[in-house]
């Protein structure tokens, strides 16, 4: 039996607020090339996308005005999932150059990796709410609050996935390709372009296991239909989110100490 014990004094006296902020800021800056034009585009992109999709879908699905909003919400929420999980999976390898520099809480790198996607999601949400208000269908304050709570669940799910996937990606170097296939196929599993109702009832439970499904359905339900899902549905979503986050954290804790060796 061998014994291992290591103790260190943290160099930053435990404060890493500066690190968190720097990671988020530089991620954003890298993505938009640090130019003013890039920054403005980053802010305008969700609005532009929203308007383009709205115009196209209004034309294509002129007879079903409800469908075009459902479609737009589904597309944006799914894109968040796709983008955030992808950058989470790649985060440790992409920031590997920092991991070999000093000992620091490396989970910060994983958790902040979703920040770009989260900014886009937040902007989209604002655009969506403004649009709903302008078209005379302003959701109630409690509907908006519920929508925000769903997005927090979404973030927890994405973070849990990223924690596990980022460390596993160090060992399985084609994990990103596997995940890409899964998210592409998953686009059709989530009820984005078709309504859940066209599938047999017995399959619904399984579809809810795919995290974007409940988030998209519940978000549409409170914002567009003005219907609040049941307490049981909410409880199941929370269980799913907390469960994924907990499993991700456990996988991360088991694997993280060896990550630097595999860079």
């Amino acid at each position: 039996m061998t014994s291992v014990a290591t103790t260190h004094v943290p160099a930053g006296h435990g404060h890493f607020g500066g690190l968190v902020w720097t990671l988020i800021r530089t991620d954003f800056k890298t993505r938009y090339h640090g130019t003013v034009g890039g920054f403005v585009w980053a802010l305008l992109k969700p609005l532009t996308m929203f308007l383009v999709l709205l115009a196209v879908f209004s034309y294509v699905f002129a007879s079903e005005p409800q469908y075009r909003l459902d479609l737009i919400i589904g597309l944006f929420l799914y894109e968040f999932f796709q983008e955030a999980t992808k950058s989470g999976l790649l985060s440790l390898r992409a920031k590997g150059y920092l991991l070999t520099k000093a000992r620091f809480p490396s989970w910060v790198v994983v958790v902040t990796s979703a920040s770009n996607a989260a900014v886009t999601l937040a902007l989209f949400s604002v655009v969506l709410l403004v649009f709903l208000a302008l078209s005379g269908r302003a959701p109630t304050a409690s509907a908006v609050a519920l929508y925000a709570v769903y997005q927090l669940h979404y973030l927890a799910i994405v973070t849990g996935f990223s924690l596990a996937a980022s460390v596993l990606f160090m060992r399985f170097r084609d994990l990103n390709q596997v995940w890409e296939v899964v998210t592409h196929a998953g686009f059709f599993v989530a009820p984005i372009i078709y309504p859940l109702g066209i599938l047999p009832e017995r399959m619904h439970g399984w579809l809810y296991l795919w995290p974007p499904t409940p988030i998209i359905l519940f978000s549409r339900s409170v914002l567009v239909d003005g219907r609040v899902p049941s307490a049981l549905a909410h409880a199941l979503l929370t269980v799913e989110a907390v469960g994924i986050l907990a499993i991700g954290a456990l996988v991360y804790r088991a694997r993280a100490p060896r990550v630097a060796e595999y860079l």
Binding site: T2, S3, V4, A5, T6, T7, H8, V9, P10, A11, G12, H13, H15, F16, G17, G18, L19, W21, T22, L23, R25, T26, K29, T30, H33, G34, G96, Y97, L98, L99, T100, K101, A102, R103, F104, R171, F172, R173, D174, L175, V178, P257, R258, A260, E261
Partner: protein, 255 residues
């Protein structure tokens, strides 16, 4: 006062890359085949103490495990066995030449590396100019790192790390990079820090560096400490080791 670093019985091995399975595909295909356990033992039963205010040298041939030992001490690698206690905040300066975000300029990269090394944003606000001045790169403050020469990038990294030092400093081959003027400045900074009471751990292949900057030194060979004594004697023994078995290159044995 007790030592700042106490290491006892440190062991470390790596699985050899050629037998590592690196993809989902490989794992799936090899699922039913027994996994060959070929591991490279890099450190075996390494123990030492760094006393407060001491500058301790480490020498050894290529692949003898020096950098691995420093990474374990810095908490970047986890040891397989042994105990390690570091009683003061520690700043590593290891392989700093490589690894920047090429899309960001020097200022942003300084902020990234500085916060990773434990500096606060407030500290960095005042330190950034000093760091650029020490590296003599003020003119290139807003240049993206992709356009830096490798020497410039290395200088920037050392400048950040020297500024981030809290108490213990560990250095890997640092005096080997940069031009003569920069080397001189690094050595001057090293002396200042040592005089100010910082404890240091210094890896070098250069007998003169070890003899000048350290009183005591360790000699690592095949992952074991084969000598712990006055730096001049260790440097001599190191040179003998080089002539003894010049052809042998392997680190510790594969098992």
């Amino acid at each position: 006062m007790g030592p700042v670093i106490e290491a006892r019985g440190i062991c470390k091995s790596f699985s050899i890359p050629s037998v590592r399975r690196e993809t989902v595909r490989e794992h799936a295909l090899d699922f039913f085949r027994p996994r060959p356990h070929e591991r490279l033992r890099v450190l075996e039963d390494v123990g030492f103490e760094l006393r407060r205010g001491e500058s301790l040298g480490i020498m050894g041939r290529n692949g003898s495990g020096k950098s691995t030992l420093l990474k374990i001490v810095a908490g970047i690698y986890a040891p397989d066995a042994g105990t390690l206690a570091v009683h003061a905040p520690l700043t590593p300066i290891l392989e700093l030449g490589v690894g920047w975000n090429p899309d960001l300029d020097a200022i942003d990269n300084i902020e990234l590396l500085g916060t990773v090394m434990g500096m606060s944003l407030r500290e960095l606000r005042t330190a950034t100019q000093d760091i650029l001045a020490f590296a003599e790169l003020e003119r290139f403050a807003h240049l993206e790192l992709r356009h830096y020469s490798s020497g410039m990038a290395a200088r920037l990294a050392y400048a950040v790390a020297f500024r981030a030092v809290r108490d213990v400093l560990i250095l890997d081959e640092i005096f080997a990079v940069g031009d003569a003027g920069f080397k001189e400045r690094c050595q001057g900074r090293y002396r200042d820090l040592h005089r100010a009471g910082h404890s240091m751990l210094l890896v070098s292949h250069e007998p003169r560096t070890i003899a000048t900057f350290c009183k005591r030194a360790l000699l690592l060979d095949h992952g074991r400490i084969v000598m712990d004594g006055p730096s001049a004697a260790v440097a001599d023994r190191y040179l003998m080791l080089l002539t003894e078995a010049p052809a042998e290159h392997a680190p510790a044995a594969a098992i």
